[in-house]
């Protein structure tokens, strides 16, 4: 279970899809890194990832980790965004029969999970059919 402070640190990525683009070789790191894994440069500019793409692969989770137990079964997928970055996330508002490799999806802001009835509510990105 992430703590509120970890959730808070990840807000730029989870809310706004902010990534680091290496000023030397153009490698896009999401989440951002201090050192480019491709060329070892340390200069990055902040960019925002594309908000739509297509499903590269997916699976159905039927036995999820604890915070997601109430949501099972649900779909997880790897989506290639229109800027080429590949991102893992839940695919929602979609019957499992509608899931197809190559299907267009867009990013929506959704509730990811909540810490019981009294804890913090965690928000972030999910994929929905376009």
């Amino acid at each position: 279970m992430p703590t509120p402070s970890r959730y808070w640190r990840e807000i730029p990525q989870r809310y706004r899809l902010e990534a680091g683009k290496c000023r030397n070789c153009g490698f896009v790191a999401f989440p951002p890194r201090a050192i480019c894994p491709a060329c070892k440069a340390r200069e990055f500019e902040t960019i925002t990832l594309a908000d739509a793409g297509k499903i590269l692969t997916y699976t159905i989770i039927r036995v999820p980790p604890q915070p997601f137990v109430d949501q099972a079964p649900y779909a997880m997928g790897i989506v290639e965004l229109d800027d080429g970055v590949r991102l893992t996330g839940q695919i929602v508002d979609c019957d499992f029969e509608e899931l197809k490799i190559g299907r267009r999806v867009k990013i929506e802001f959704r509730k990811i999970f909540q810490e019981g009835e009294s804890g913090v509510i965690y928000y972030g990105y999910k994929f929905v059919p376009e």
Binding site: Y15, R16, D70, E108, Y123
Partner: protein, 348 residues
């Protein structure tokens, strides 16, 4: 002149039909359909709430406004279903659209008129020259107790408006508010479902305040019903907006473009604001639009907008409200609806 520079809507995909609810409670669906003029209503997915829908509606408003979100000086969310009792919805919204940290943020509550309250304050701050742009959202995932008449209409949706001085698509010509202390609908702290005064929610509440605000703004502006191309009233059911329109001198043709309740249900703080987004979607430069909200407790906010030529440039930059309402609907049964709305819970 100050006014709306961008607008956007968010409507969940799930729907439940009146028949599906009536079946469970042994009620007569045709008389509910006829009595309320409502066929179905929107149902939020378990991962949708006032905050998530506010963000989606605001992202659509930003697509139309085409501004740098860092220049937004105020972010207001009006709702009666803020996910937290203590912790603002507005801070999540401001962060998600990239408006932080130089921004004033607040949550508003006033039953179904919390959305237009935010609009009133955001517009006023722009008028006063305190901020360059102001964002106001009306959003709700409203709840009706199982079997209560409200269960047939209590729905979910959000509408967002960005106000500014340049590239205005609808000039805000006049505003007017009408408020009294009228206990027609309420929810006490720690209570899950609201209570209401039945028929008392009609004449001394909805009709008195909307007529008061409607007459007030027409007197202030010198305008008469025939001057308006469109009018939007709060839509707790399908009948009330037409009845109050008749009382004020407005016809069906002026009301229908913003009348969404038969397919959408009552989205509370999102109700009349969503009607305004649907009306802007089809309006032409020069059209005069009157919107009158209603919030129990009770009060009404009225605005007169004049559409500018700018509307043509921004209309197609984000999904239109009727498209969101009609496209990709997913009909759920009462069991799924009850689970999604946490009316039933899994053991353990």
């Amino acid at each position: 002149m100050e006014g709306i520079i961008g607008y956007g809507a968010s409507i969940p995909r799930n729907r439940i039909k009146v028949e599906e609810i009536a079946k469970v409670w042994g009620a007569d669906a045709p008389s509910y359909r006829k009595g309320l003029l409502v066929e179905e209503k929107s149902v939020p997915s378990p991962d949708q709430d006032t905050i998530s829908m506010s963000v989606e509606a605001s992202k659509n408003a930003l697509k139309r406004a085409r501004i740098n979100p860092r220049e937004i000086g105020a972010v207001y969310v009006g709702s009666e279903s803020h996910p937290y009792a203590v912790k603002p919805s507005g801070t999540v919204l401001a962060e998600a659209i990239g408006a932080t940290p130089d921004v004033h943020t607040a949550d508003f509550e006033f039953a179904c008129k919390a959305g237009t309250e935010g609009m009133f304050v955001a517009l006023s701050l722009v008028k006063a020259g305190e901020i360059k742009y102001g964002l106001a959202v009306g959003a709700d995932t409203s709840q009706g107790a199982p079997g209560d008449a409200l269960e047939y209409t209590a729905a979910a949706g959000a509408a967002a408006f960005i106000f500014g001085r340049e590239n205005v698509i609808a000039e805000a010509l006049y505003t007017y508010s009408y408020t009294t202390d009228t206990p027609d609908f309420w929810r006490r702290e720690y209570q899950y479902y609201p209570q209401h005064g039945g028929r008392f929610t009609g004449d001394p509440a909805y009709f008195k305040h909307i007529v008061g605000a409607g007459k007030g703004i027409m007197e202030k502006s010198g305008l008469k019903p025939a001057d308006f191309t469109y009018v939007i009233f709060h839509q707790p059911n399908g009948k009330f907006p037409f009845r109050v329109g008749e009382m004020l001198g407005f016809g069906k043709k002026q009301i229908e473009p913003g009348w969404l309740v038969n397919k959408l249900g009552n989205t509370y703080s999102g109700s009349s604001p969503l009607g305004l987004t649907a009306t802007l979607d089809i309006s032409k430069p020069g059209d005069l639009i009157l919107i009158v909200s209603y919030g129990s407790g009770a009060g009404s906010d009225a605005f007169v907008f004049r559409v500018t030529e700018g509307i043509e440039k921004v209309r197609d930059l984000a999904p239109k409200t009727r498209e969101l309402l009609d496209k990709n609907c997913c009909y759920v049964d009462y069991g799924t609806y009850a689970k999604f709305r946490q009316k039933i819970r899994k053991a353990g």
